[in-house]
Subunit: 294 residues, 2 copies
């Protein structure tokens, strides 16, 4: 694939040309999606919110039952840094995956874990106040018929390589102009996008589905909630129906790459890019800008 031409990845402790970066076909990451990951954003050579990402990765691996095989935080950061440096990137995304590796036997995980640790990267434009968004346009969203799995079936806070639920939701967008699918849970409450968290503004409040609903508690979601509270914006987390969303004054999405991305359409309903969305986008940019000054 052209977009990885000339890139260097990091696999199992070594830098390797991207086109040679591979995992064993018997790696449980390939066979079962038995792996956790984080998508990181590097601004001016610094990984944004590293502590929050590594904490979540540890929680994911704990849910999968092999957190004890996770290398120390510094070791992981060295791998990410080495990969970013090898590509001479100032601004990029990096995906850090840790799988349970190859094990003898079949589905039941064995106690001895030799994890497979992979870092892939791709260049991005500069972020911050002086930067540009990675997206060209505001998002257009559709509410998918694919539902989020029940927490008793798939732990929603674990960010794993079992991503079929999101793929099926995104597949529903083909032949439409939408680029993100929002999923409801089994009870019909709004949860999140396939790769993003969802916010909306109503009654003068910033609202987002509570982490008690089945959703991934995003790092950017958490930063945005903090920024809003610091700015004395009334914040509410709760359980919302699609109609709450459709009647909102503003809607936006967050994730590590998109940061704060306005939504201008949900199904048949149009939205303006509103003042609170703009404010939070600007505050986020300022927070990021500080990474370049550090």
């Amino acid at each position: 694939v052209d977009e990885q031409m000339g890139l260097t990845y990091h696999v199992d402790g070594a830098l390797v040309p991207a086109e040679e970066a591979s995992v064993d076909v018997r790696d449980r990451g390939f066979m079962y999606g038995d792996a956790g990951f984080e998508t990181l954003r590097v601004y001016g050579g610094t990984v944004f919110a590293w502590a929050a990402h590594v904490d979540r990765l540890e929680r994911t691996l704990s849910t999968l039952g092999f957190a004890e095989a996770m290398p120390p935080c510094d070791d992981l950061r060295d791998r990410v840094r080495a990969t970013v440096d090898a590509n001479a990137f100032d601004d990029c995304w990096a995906k850090l995956s840790i799988s349970r590796g190859v094990q003898p036997g079949k589905l039941t995980p064995g106690p001895r874990v030799d994890p497979t640790i992979v870092v892939t990267v791709g260049e991005l434009p500069r972020g911050g106040v002086a930067g540009e968004a990675v997206w060209d346009d505001p998002a257009t969203v559709r509410i998918a018929t694919t539902r989020k799995p029940d927490p008793a079936a798939f732990p929603p806070a674990a960010k794993t390589h079992n991503y079929l639920n999101g793929i099926l939701a995104r597949r529903e967008l083909r032949d439409t102009d939408a680029d993100e699918a929002v999923l409801l849970d089994a009870d019909g409450y709004v949860t999140e996008g396939a790769t993003s968290n969802l916010f909306f503004v109503a009654d003068g409040r910033l609202k987002t589905p509570a982490s008690g609903r089945p959703l991934l508690p995003g790092v950017t979601r958490s930063v945005v909630l903090d920024l809003a509270r610091e700015e004395d914006v009334p914040v509410e987390t709760g359980s919302y129906r699609p109609n709450d969303l459709l009647r909102a004054d503003e809607v936006f999405l967050t994730n590590t790459s998109w940061e704060v991305r306005p939504v201008t359409r949900v199904d048949g309903t149009a939205f303006e890019v509103g003042p609170l969305t703009r404010l939070l986008g600007r505050l986020f940019d300022e927070r990021v800008e500080a990474e370049y000054d550090a």
Copy 2:
């Protein structure tokens, strides 16, 4: 891993030594579990129930939205045969996986699919009337607290590399003597084991959860249902509670490797290996034996 020493696998059209068999780290099978698979049983050089397996694989890829990238049936069979022959196996399992491969972009699948096709194998004892079971003892089962996902979240009939639900259920068995976990659906009905279908005998009938419940319609399950009907055994498929299972006269599991495997314990309840389980095991062996005479 020692058990693959000296084996030959088949990756993307070529035979390769198992220890060199790998997939790109950006393969969607590794990144997202975005792949379908079948576990096949080879008896005396012949793949058992090949047509049923290849049909299900096509349905899986259709659910994932890339069935058009599936090679013709004969091409797939040639890959399996070449792998079995390269290892000089008469009796073995073979796992045939087809992933959506490497694509540019992120989560949303692209329209152009160059699938990654992998065949892995491992030797097994001879099957049939003159053979031996791959399991040493009857199964001991626990009913897991992990539930099957709702069909609206994960299509249950698709056999994909998103296998975390089964892994979490199997993880519950550690520190117990059980070797299979049976999952209930969100409504509390019995569905299947992590890698097997479940049967029980009650009121003189052979019973198994209906395919309307969230479960994988197993190839061995289908063969066993056919064998029972041919023998005029009353068969019932339906929706059953754990108590229906615990009050049964006989319980057994089926899958491609285990064939018909008796269950002698479900949670705290013991079961004898009963006459209908023995009869169906024998009829299955006879069906298999015919593969050796062919």
